[in-house]
């Protein structure tokens, strides 16, 4: 094992340029993947914020007894999709309107009769905030006798749904494409390292080294290159994030786990890339 580490590290010293090239190409491939990841993370965050505001409002017929409402509120809260159901009385609706619609304060002030109906505002649990479930819950709310009307941004919910699906699909396809590119590039740079050391490998086999023994330093070397590439990619992404944050928009960065996943992904790519090229070389000679 000591020998494996020594040989793997020796390769960096013997071919610093080639090693730097490998690390750089890996870093940039992962950086592109990382940028798309960053876009995905931020889009997800933004959609999350929007989705939290998805609300269904059931307007109640005037004169509905408060006991029925309280009962209904309990029933609605017991729906598996529902996160919360809150009763808003006519008075508090008016108070809220006065507070929120400052421009119309005067008009609202002079009203003799409160025109606003009482309502129950229903929020869904995060996993049910899609068109299908919203429609479903709205239908059930309509079933209550004292519910006059049910409102929710139907188009809006459906558009949000589509946007979410498109974002996920694009992220997946682009990410996969760049991951493949990264694997090919890493395979190629490791292959160059293998060819560069072809003589040495031939001598190793001549004196009775097993394929496993020959392979191990290359695998370790590939994994180290992939890991360094991943670290550089996270660094570059952080740089890009800082710039975007300062000049363009308020954005979020990867969580520690996500950053670690990028480095881990780089390590795996390095490992598989080198395994493929060393394996091919050893089978051929």
């Amino acid at each position: 094992m000591n020998l494996t580490i020594r040989e793997a590290l020796l390769a960096f010293r013997r071919a610093p340029l080639l090693s730097a090239l490998s690390v750089t190409t890996i870093a940039f491939s992962l950086f592109v993947v990382g940028l798309f990841g960053l876009v995905a993370v931020n889009l997800q965050d933004a959609l999350q914020g929007v989705a939290e505001r998805v609300e269904i409002v059931a307007y109640l017929l005037p004169g509905t007894p408060i006991e029925s409402i309280t009962l209904a509120e309990k029933d609605i809260e017991a729906f598996p999709e529902v996160h919360s159901a809150v009763y808003v009385s006519e008075d508090s609706a008016l108070a809220r309107a006065r507070a929120e619609l400052v421009e119309f304060r005067d008009v609202l002030q002079e009203l003799e009769r409160n025109p606003l109906p009482a309502s129950i505002e229903v929020k869904l649990k995060p996993e049910f905030r899609d068109a299908e479930h919203v429609n479903d819950v709205a239908d059930r709310l309509r079933g209550f006798g004292f519910v006059d009307d049910v409102r929710f941004g139907r188009d809006w919910v459906e558009k949000l749904d589509r946007l979410r699906q498109i974002a996920a699909a694009v992220g997946l396809v682009v990410g996969a494409a760049f991951a493949v590119v990264a694997i090919i590039i890493i395979g190629t740079t490791i292959r160059m390292a293998v060819l560069q050391r072809g003589r040495e490998i031939a001598i190793m086999r001549l004196v009775g080294a097993t394929n496993g023994f020959i392979r191990r330093p290359f695998l370790l070397q590939g994994a180290i290159k992939g890991m360094l590439g991943g670290l550089v990619a996270v660094g570059l992404s952080y740089g890009a994030y800082t710039l975007i944050n300062r000049w363009l928009i308020q954005a979020a960065f990867f969580s520690n786990v996500q950053a670690l996943a990028i480095v881990g992904f780089g390590t795996l790519i390095g490992l598989f890339g080198s395994a493929a090229s060393v394996g091919r070389h050893l089978r051929r000679v």
Partner: protein, 231 residues
């Protein structure tokens, strides 16, 4: 030790590199493998260390049936052999000592035992003083001695030498040849492929001659050449 029985070897692109070659080399023997370039000397050696597959026939080396050897057993066979080439095949970025130690390291030898074993063989080939030198700092003869030390460090039962003196001047050739004789005298079988007939005449060793892939003369079996030539 090494036994060829009706061995054929086909070139990948057609034609035969070896035609029906049979011989037996015993433990501790010194054998010259002679013939013109392309006669099949190197091919015989490559079959012995399983660098090329046998087309047909049987090749046995130190208890291994080479023709039926699984790829993962090839390293085990090579650890029983020492191999030396005309072009030395040393690693340029390692010292003489490291080149020799390398052969022990790849076989998984105990690390603590390596330095002493390396020094012992370097002393045996007369290069103990140049253990720290890189190949480019050594003469051709010295580089070949390092290669021989590397071949010996695993204590092989056979040393295969493919034109070991081909790149050396006369003085270095004599030195390396004497070293091979000394190694043989201490019990290791030596198979030396060469087309240097002066060298062959110098010593009373067995000669196997190949011509266009066929074994045409074996001094252990056939009558001595001189008598055969003069009836």
């Amino acid at each position: 030790m090494i036994k060829f029985t009706n061995v054929f070897k086909a070139f990948p692109k057609g034609g035969l590199a070896l035609k029906d070659v049979s011989f037996h080399i015993a433990k501790g023997e010194f054998v010259f493998l002679t013939g013109h370039s392309g006669a099949g000397k190197s091919t015989v050696l490559k079959l012995v260390y399983a660098d090329e597959p046998v087309t047909s026939g049987e090749v046995r080396v130190s208890g291994f049936n080479v023709a039926e050897l699984r790829p993962r057993d090839v390293p085990m066979l090579r650890r029983r052999l020492g191999i030396v080439f005309q072009d030395f095949r040393l690693l340029e970025d390692r010292t003489a000592e490291e080149n020799v130690a390398f052969a022990l390291e790849v076989t998984g030898a105990r690390r603590s035992s390596i330095p002493a074993r390396v020094m012992r063989v370097l002393t045996q080939v007369g290069l103990a003083a140049k253990a720290q030198a890189y190949p480019r700092e050594l003469s051709g003869g010295e580089q070949q001695r390092v290669a021989i030390a590397r071949a010996l460090v695993n204590e092989p039962s056979v040393l295969l030498a493919d034109e070991p003196t081909g790149n050396l001047d006369e003085r270095a050739t004599r030195g390396v040849f004497q070293l091979l004789r000394d190694i043989n005298a201490s019990g290791t079988a030596v198979v030396m492929a060469t087309h240097d007939l002066d060298l062959v005449r110098q010593a009373p060793y067995r000669v196997i001659e190949l011509q266009e892939g066929a074994l045409v003369y074996d001094s252990a079996v056939d009558e001595p050449r001189d008598q055969a030539a003069t009836p």
